[in-house]
């Protein structure tokens, strides 16, 4: 019995991280009906961006310089063509941004020497890393997704497939494919009560994921930007007709999604080490959203927790029976069962039907 509670508890904590991954898929799906298959790559990318800031990882100049130049080109282009700033403003601001990025990548932010306390360092680097992830997310959206607005969602989905391979290649080129040690050194909040033991890292992961999840929901349901996102999610054409810039909203959605994926990525990296091969964890989002319902935010939470528990149970009770690796398959088997019973997932939207 104690064993069961212990297993379920750990499962729920990991499940909350999965729920966050599910949320990222769901908000993009709601906004553009496309499935983001590049989620694993966004996950590694977000973790690496945080890693660069937190651990002061620098790049040699022949990697930092092209990236800086790329940022310069991109920012000038966006400022000039999308925001229609004047050329004299667009070019220098792009230059400054590119140079700043280059400096951070080449010289590092030097947080470890500036801020000795690891917690404080985390509190500074975490939002910065997330911001960076959000910006990269919106860059990717601007380049690959935006031109497809109004086209079939299938083409968008396929683009994300290719995007995944491309991003993975880029990450490998920039940071190589070896493992980076990842240790956040957050305050120890291990819970040890009688026979129960919950480790500090999973608890942090659960708390931060839940917090992020909550913040996204507050953003979606309590702010006017959230209202615009929900309106656009329902119908892009109608939203545009009423003065909501659907293109920009889609960009915001991708930024939020990339940001949340980064949170999940950082938490997952913290369980072990960070390396390119870790991307497959992102695909855990597939059973999560399919079980919960592709277009249900609450479903993502429930689905995440269910997948987490299922995995933990399979790991604790089935694997010892000789089924090594069953832990990774169990969520998919559960998924099949759920889909047999409810093809739209547990919480798929109740469509409003009228005649």
């Amino acid at each position: 019995m104690i064993d069961l509670v212990q297993t379920l508890g750990s499962g729920i904590l990991v499940g909350l991280v999965y729920a966050l991954l599910g949320l990222c898929i769901v908000i993009i799906f709601k906004a553009s009906e496309a499935f983001n298959f590049a989620i694993g790559e966004f996950l590694i990318l977000g973790s690496f961006l945080f890693y660069v800031l937190f651990f002061n990882e620098t790049l040699p100049w022949h990697r930092a310089l092209p990236l800086g130049a790329l940022i310069f080109l991109f920012f000038s282009y966006v400022l000039f063509f999308d925001i229609s700033a004047r050329f004299l403003i667009a070019l220098p601001s792009g230059l400054v941004t590119g140079f700043l990025i280059f400096c951070v990548l080449f010289f590092g932010l030097n947080l470890p020497s500036l801020v000795p306390s690891p917690l404080l360092r985390f509190i500074i680097a975490f939002p910065l890393g997330l911001l960076a992830a959000g910006i990269v997310g919106s860059m990717v959206e601007r380049i690959t997704i935006k031109p497809l607005l109004g086209r079939s969602p299938i083409s968008m989905t396929i683009v994300t497939l290719g995007l995944g391979f491309f991003l993975r290649g880029c990450i490998q080129l920039i940071w190589g494919s070896h493992a980076y040690p990842f240790f956040l050194d957050l305050p120890d909040i291990t819970i040890e009560m009688g026979d129960f033991l919950f480790l500090s890292d999973p608890i942090w992961a659960g708390i931060l994921s839940l917090l992020t999840f909550g913040l996204v929901i507050v953003f979606l349901f309590r702010t006017r930007w959230g209202l615009a996102i929900r309106a656009t999610s329902e119908d892009q054409a109608k939203a545009m007709a009423f003065g909501i810039n659907a293109r920009f909203i889609l960009l915001i959605v991708w930024a939020i999604s990339a940001l949340c994926i980064a949170v999940a990525g950082i938490m997952i990296s913290n369980f072990g080490a960070l390396q390119v091969g870790m991307g497959f964890v992102g695909l855990r989002a597939i059973p999560v959203v399919l079980i919960g319902g592709m277009d249900s935010i609450g479903g993502a939470l429930v689905g995440g927790v269910i997948v987490g528990m299922c995995e933990a149970l399979a790991g604790a009770y089935l694997e010892p029976m000789g089924l090594i690796g069953f832990k990774d398959v169990a969520p998919y088997i559960l998924l099949l069962i759920v889909l047999f019973i409810r093809p739209y997932g547990l919480f798929g939207t109740v469509r409003i039907e009228r005649v």
């Binding site: 929900r230 309106a231 409003i352």
Partner: protein
């Protein structure tokens, strides 16, 4: 003044829908555009509002001007914000899964300010039926209520020109009458109205001037009175007038039209 000059629009680079339409909307008037299904009325409004690109349509010739400046090719949001042109799409463009209040809020996104709450009250003043149900999802409202909400949402954008696409579609005659009386009331408050309708009789009742569109061309224009008395209009849009077709050519064109739809 909104003027459309020799507009030609194609969808997907090959389907030619508007074949050189020219018309003029004078400030403060109610302009009626009538035409059969597939004549290109919706396409015309999409072009004016900047939405055409979203449907993979292109303006390949001609120009759209607001008070002399071209608004062709601008973003839908830009056209709405800068020139006050708001397009109420056909088929009651409300967000089904948002409440009525949220719908009005979403429509005021482009101009969010302190006056939004007051403007919402004003909309509820025009459409009192909406007030008691403002917490209800718009998808559960009746057709008439949805159309009223759609027009209310358009009002939240503070339009100078309102493009209404078949607002009476699928509504009971009594509701249509109410709707049209509110539309002419809105016109009193200095909002120019372009009303696209198949319900020619009711529409010509509140408009002074009208155009008849057929196969992407203007085939007739005149005052509401002239149109109401015109024999072709009576035959094709009012369901009265001479029973036998005027010429074989016309009849054939209508048959062919239907097959392509």
């Amino acid at each position: 003044m909104l003027s459309i000059e020799n507009l030609r629009v194609v969808y997907h680079d090959v389907i030619s829908v508007l074949n050189g339409i020219s018309l003029e909307v004078k400030d403060g008037e109610v302009l009626i555009i009538i035409g059969a299904n597939g004549a290109g009325k919706t396409t015309l409004l999409r072009s004016v509002s900047g939405m055409i690109e979203f449907y993979d349509g292109d303006i390949i010739e001609g120009d759209i001007k607001m008070d002399g400046t071209s608004i062709k090719g601008l973003d839908a949001t830009d056209i709405m914000k800068r020139y006050g042109v708001t397009y109420v799409m056909e088929d009651r463009p409300v967000f089904w899964y948002l409440t009525i209040e949220e719908n009005l809020g979403a429509a005021s996104f482009s101009r969010w300010d302190k006056r939004v709450k007051a403007d919402m009250e004003e909309v509820f003043g025009y459409f009192p039926v909406l007030r008691p149900m403002k917490g209800k999802r718009a998808g559960y409202a009746s057709g008439g209520e949805q159309q009223m909400l759609a027009i209310g949402m358009a009002l939240m954008t503070k339009p100078k020109i309102l493009l209404l696409d078949e607002p009476s579609l699928g509504l009971a005659p009594l509701i249509t009458e109410e709707l049209f009386s509110i539309i002419s009331q809105l016109n009193q408050t200095d909002i120019t109205i372009v009303l696209v309708e198949q319900n020619a009789h009711a529409a010509l009742g509140i408009g002074k001037r009208g155009y008849v569109v057929e196969m992407g061309r203007i085939v007739l224009d005149g005052t509401a009175q002239e149109l109401l008395e015109n024999e072709d209009v009576r035959e094709f849009y009012l369901g009265s007038g001479k029973k036998e077709r005027k010429s074989y050519k016309d009849a054939k064109r209508y048959k062919r039209r239907k097959r392509w739809l």
